[in-house]
């Protein structure tokens, strides 16, 4: 049984339909990438899975339950964490407070210090900057903080919306390496990227999204080798 399953999902903004009958699934333990050009509907998909946008058709199943009507803040409790596009750092909260926010919904306060350790292990930079306010950090550091914060919720499924956006190449490599490490530690990942190269390399499977419709799916390696995909997303 898939951990996450979207079945014929449609999403509208007013009268404009942004997602058309989308069906995708993410198995437990996988990294799945969703590749698409700017405006294809990647962010819309992520926000619908997180519950920030309602569906106009279809259903979303998570961990065996239909969550199509579950409120966004309760989906976090169920184990879905989204690192939003643009990172969504609380700029005037310190690094520590931002991480605390990640654990806001958790009941098991006892294991929280272990999670702080895990996050600081993955991102030593964050440990050095605990007292710094989030808004004064560089883009790369903010992305680390955003991922670390999402991990503080102890998610079963981590949704990442363009984590490489606007980052310098060395940060991009580091972020992708950490995504892999997080996945190996047992977190399932759904990754959205415009920049398809690394996303396809990293993914077990991937989907290509064009103007709100899934047009291709396959293993990461398969799609990376495909001529049409190469031409469209891998710079030829």
């Amino acid at each position: 049984m898939a951990l996450l399953e979207l079945d014929d999902v449609s999403v509208h903004y007013g009268r404009i339909q942004a997602i058309h009958d989308m069906s995708i699934h993410v198995e437990e333990g996988e990294i799945v990438s969703l590749i698409g050009a700017n405006g294809a509907g990647k962010t819309t998909t992520m926000r619908a899975v997180a519950g920030l946008l309602g569906l106009s058709g279809g259903s979303i199943t998570f961990d065996g339950d239909d969550i199509s009507r579950t409120k966004a803040h309760l989906r976090v409790v169920r184990g879905i964490s989204l690192t939003p596009e643009g990172r969504g750092i609380f700029p005037s909260m310190t690094v520590l407070e931002n991480l605390d926010m990640g654990a806001y919904a958790r009941k098991d306060k006892s294991s929280m210090s272990a999670d702080f350790d895990r996050v600081f292990d993955l991102f030593p930079r964050l440990k050095e900057r605990q007292k710094q306010s989030g808004g004064t950090m560089s883009g790369g550091e903010q992305q680390m903080l955003a991922i670390g914060r999402a991990l503080m919720a102890h998610p079963k499924l981590l949704l990442l919306d363009e984590p490489s956006m606007g980052l310098a190449p060395q940060f991009i490599r580091q972020i992708f390496r950490i995504i892999k490490e997080v996945n190996q530690q047992g977190t399932t990942v759904l990754l959205v990227e415009q920049n398809a190269n690394q996303a396809l390399k990293l993914a077990n499977r991937a989907y290509i999204l064009e103007t709100g419709r899934i047009t291709r799916e396959g293993s990461g390696a398969e799609l990376a080798a495909d001529d049409a995909v190469k031409a469209a997303y891998l710079g030829g």
Binding site: H73, S81, F90, S92, M93, M101, Y104, R106
Partner: protein, 333 residues
């Protein structure tokens, strides 16, 4: 001739009486601080709701006056009337707490009801900002005239609960018991709310929603619960202010009694920096003082409001975001 006329007419309605200000400086300061505490408590309600919803909740003045009515009814029920009572310390504290509870709970309930009935349906439909604003004004008038229909156009008979008793004096200015209670309690409540927002997990939730509601939701914060909570906290403090207001103005419970005080408190919130709890405190005390000084300087109680709003305007010209500027979203622990 023209010159004379101008001078004569200006003298007839405006003149600066510095002697009066200097000779009344201490009582003016005393009263200014007392009123300032009341303004500050009401201002927090405006500021919290604005910080979280970007909404100026004009009905907050009626949230406040509802608490004042509850205090009057409670005190009347406890047997108080317009005469200064002769109570021991323990019964006085007990009755104060009962009245405080009545005022605070009533105002909090009214605030939450206003949120439920008026604002939540608009939010659910994604209504534009202007719809909220006109609704807020409408709710303010609706509550005022409901009270009018119920209690009539006159004020409730005055009730005094705190014995009129001077505790100490500075120069020959007497400082009265009720004024000390008001200022100390108001300060304590303001500090408590400020620390709550800065230090607790729920306070962090409030700040997160103020800053970025969507991302706060992604952290598992229920924005709806946070919104109700901010209305409730603002209501609790406004109800406490209702008690202090009645202590200072025993015949203050009248249907439109919240209106002017509410505008003043809103001005205090803007003066200090709307969205900022410490700004509400600062703005409250400043407006209390400025109004009272202005009143003695210019000679008439009506000048109190004029001076307050002129000063507000001048400050905003220099600091458009108010004295402390930053919003609730920017509060740091």
């Amino acid at each position: 001739m023209l010159h004379e006329l101008a001078t004569a007419s200006s003298e007839s309605w405006i003149s600066f009486n510095w002697d009066s200000l200097f000779s009344n400086f201490l009582p003016a300061t005393r009263d200014g601080i007392t009123y300032g505490g009341i303004y500050a408590l009401v201002a927090v309600g405006y500021t919290l709701v604005y910080g979280v919803l970007n909404l100026i909740n004009f009905a907050h003045s009626e949230v406040f006056i509802s608490g004042a009515y509850a205090v009057v009814f409670t005190l009347t029920g406890l047997g108080f009337d317009g005469n200064s009572p002769n109570l021991g310390t323990i019964p006085l504290i007990g009755d104060l707490l009962v009245a405080l509870l009545a005022g605070a709970v009533t105002s909090a309930v009214v605030a939450v009801l206003v949120e439920r009935i008026a604002y939540r349906p608009l939010r659910a439909r994604g209504a534009p900002r202007l719809a909220f604003l006109i609704t807020a004004i409408g709710v303010s008038f609706a509550i005022q005239y409901l009270i009018f229909l119920w209690r009539g156009s006159v004020a409730e008979p005055s009730v005094r609960m705190v014995p009129v008793k001077a505790i100490f004096q500075i120069g020959d200015t007497l400082i009265f018991l009720n004024q000390i209670i008001i200022v100390v309690a108001a300060l304590a409540m303001m500090i408590a709310v400020d620390q709550f927002v800065r230090r607790t997990r729920t306070g962090r939730g409030i700040r997160a929603v103020a800053q970025d509601p969507d991302t706060a939701t992604l952290m598992g914060v229920s924005t709806e619960r946070i919104i109700v909570l901010t209305f409730a906290i603002g209501g609790l403090l406004a109800g406490a202010a209702g008690l202090f207001y009645i202590m200072q103005v025993p015949s203050g419970a009248i249907y439109n009694g919240g209106f002017v005080l509410g505008i003043k408190a809103f001005a205090a919130a803007v003066l200090g920096g709307i969205g900022n709890i410490r700004g509400a405190l600062l703005g409250g005390f400043l407006l209390g003082l400025i109004g009272n000084y202005g009143q003695y300087l210019l000679g008439d109680a009506q000048w109190n409001d004029v001076v307050c709003f002129v000063v507000l305007l001048l400050v905003l010209m220099v600091r458009p975001e108010g004295i402390l500027g930053s919003s609730l979203a920017k509060v740091r622990a």
